[in-house]
């Protein structure tokens, strides 16, 4: 089996615990002065890659774990975090603040990155929590013509470059099998990301971080979509209280729900 060269795309997003606020111009959410962190699903991807290496679960071993992020200079912080968690090196693609890439541009960028880095496995979050598009992994698989297993809750390696991926579906667990090279997108139950230890945080400072521009990938930040307006959801109306189960049933009947 071939040694794994894993590419882990990660994104800097508003911290999941921050309540986002719409900006005054209603063109997006306020990002200035707001705490940002690594997209939580991407933490799962980094963790999974590192675990594949540590647990030696891939017969061919892990040759390289490379994290890549396209974003403002601050995105280097999350690249360092990923390296503190165990990634070997990082690539930062400088994108100006406010010039966000759409999923298709990201997928095109990653396609070139995969070719440049000679990756044979891409593990990425199923979606980023800012625009929740859930498209990049699928588009990347399409562009590369590679098999994809989305929303993974378990990843196992077999003989002859085969990978089994379990994903949670409505009726239970679905297991997919494919051959490398392939794309895996991560879901919540896959693992529990680690805390970076102090020695690893210090080591991460010395790991290589390559700086690139969109032009290096033959991409421009053009947009196909235009955001017309962003608004807060309407305030929800409060519900009523019922005394007991009978009360609940009669209330539901009253509303025509049962």
């Amino acid at each position: 089996m071939s040694a794994l060269r894993i590419l882990v795309p990660i994104k800097r997003v508003i911290d999941y615990a921050v309540k986002p606020r719409v900006n005054k111009a209603q063109t997006g959410v306020e990002t200035a002065g707001v705490k940002h962190s690594m997209n939580p699903f991407d933490e799962l991807s980094v963790e999974e890659s590192v675990r594949i290496r540590e647990k030696k679960s891939a017969p061919g071993g892990v040759e390289d774990i490379c994290v890549i992020s396209a974003g403002p200079t601050k995105a280097q912080d999350i690249l360092r975090t990923a390296m503190a968690m165990g990634a070997d090196r990082a690539i930062h693609v400088e994108v100006k603040e406010g010039e966000d890439l759409e999923p298709l541009s990201v997928a095109k960028l990653l396609k070139t990155a995969v070719e440049q880095q000679k990756s044979n496995l891409v593990i990425l979050g199923k979606q980023s929590i800012d625009d929740d598009a859930n498209q990049t992994g699928q588009m990347l698989a399409g562009l590369l013509g590679w098999p994809q297993a989305t929303q993974a809750s378990k990843v196992e390696f077999g003989e002859g470059d085969t990978v089994s991926v379990t994903r949670e579906v409505d009726g239970g667990a679905e297991t997919l099998k494919a051959k490398l090279p392939m794309i895996i997108t991560t879901d919540l139950r896959l693992n529990e990301p680690r805390y970076a230890s102090l020695p690893n945080i210090m080591k991460a400072k010395k790991k290589p971080l390559e700086k690139k521009t969109l032009a290096d990938f033959g991409i421009t930040a053009e947009r196909r979509l235009k955001v017309l307006k962003v608004t807060e959801p309407p305030t929800r109306q409060g519900g009523g209280k019922v005394d007991d189960v009978d009360g609940l049933i009669s209330k539901l009947k009253e509303m025509g729900a049962i």
Partner: protein, 480 residues
Amino acid sequence: MQPWDVTSSIRNLQIPIRFLKSQSSIPKKKKKANKMPGNIMRVCWRPPRVSDRQAQQLGRQTRQTRCWRRAFSGSTRRPLMATAGFTSTQLTVRDAIAQICSRFPNSYWRERDLSEQDPTDFHAALAKDGWLGIALPEELGGAGLGIAEATIMMQTIAESGAGIAGAQSIHANVYATQPLARFGTAHQLESTIPNIISGRWRVCFGVTEPDAGLDTLRLSTTAVKQHGRSYKVTGKKIWITCAQVAAKMILLARTTPLEKVEKPSEGLSLFCIDLDRSHPGLEMRRIKKMGGRAVDANQVFFDDYPIPADALVGEEGQGFKIILHGMNAERCLLAGEALGLGYAALGKATAYAKERTVFQRPIGMNQGVAHPLAEAYMRLEAAKLATYHAARLFDDSRTDSSIRPDAVGVACNSAKYLAAEAAFDACERAVLAHGGMGYAVDYDVERYFRESLVPRIAPVSREMILNYISEKVLQLPRSY
């Protein structure tokens, strides 16, 4: 279990984390409307993390810890302190420490304070991830960062609700090891430092004596050389934190009698000794105290207690000079701990002031409640600037010879003074803002308040700092 805990744990299960956060900012009446889940995704984002389970086992959880409990790594609370001006390394330290501390919520520390049990698992958690070596050299397995980074670590620990107790459980491991790392022999360093960083051995600092508190040079514990091979220690030490759980003590003792030295600062020596509790020449007695009860403070009695000659750190007779290196660092750390405590208390008080409704409006709407808290905030911010200025000066002085040692001393002492006062102020106001509930253990601020006396008293009193500034900066005649 208290009624508010029942409702809160139910809320915790049902409501997205970010709504819990926003609740506190609105008056009670509107709460219902805001309780509706706005974004289902947020609810789904709670994988069964070990940290969650552990935290649940710890029992009751307070509002604050629930709010920033994590479904993913990354601290989730927005602390009050402004973070502009900190370096990215410092902020990384702050984030990483906050993540670890989130597994040890207020309820943990409340329980430890009542049971007076050492937070061994907290110490172990920090040691596991290498944090005890933050300011120790890289060659010895440390991270080689400065006192500024160590200070922000201590602040973050105290701020998490761990308070002075949490900070003290590791405090000596961070600063008392500084003179050792600087003056110890290769053998001493290799045999002790890695064990301290890994958490296998804990350290206590043995300087203070019942008859020589601030007047350190008059300490009467002696180490008498026995035929060149070893020393025997006789004397008493007091306020030795963590002596019950420590394996090692950094001990300052007199090796040449006061009458026989030219200057009183000579004749003292520093040792790094084993604490063999089974030896009849060593006895410890725990002191009952006002706050920080989770960590033990002790009287330690030595009676012909033998220590090997190679326990000596640096040159014999130069102990006082050596130990001074640790003292300014300690002032900075303690200032950081005080700040953390102050911000924690202020955070509790503001949350309560937003939430608590009297006369159909939140009490924080009353300027009589709001203004003292606003003032406490400004004082903390000012003290923060003084503290990190001092820490930076301390770190820079190692490489920049233009920084005079007394300038570092002035900055570190001023920082300790200002941070201790600001913290005490914030804690007192937090208790008062809570009204009757401020007196209840479950609201945590009484614990903070009790602990806020520590940085005012230790390691040097307010009055001695004022004396020092009067003499060294203002050049007024010494009064004592």
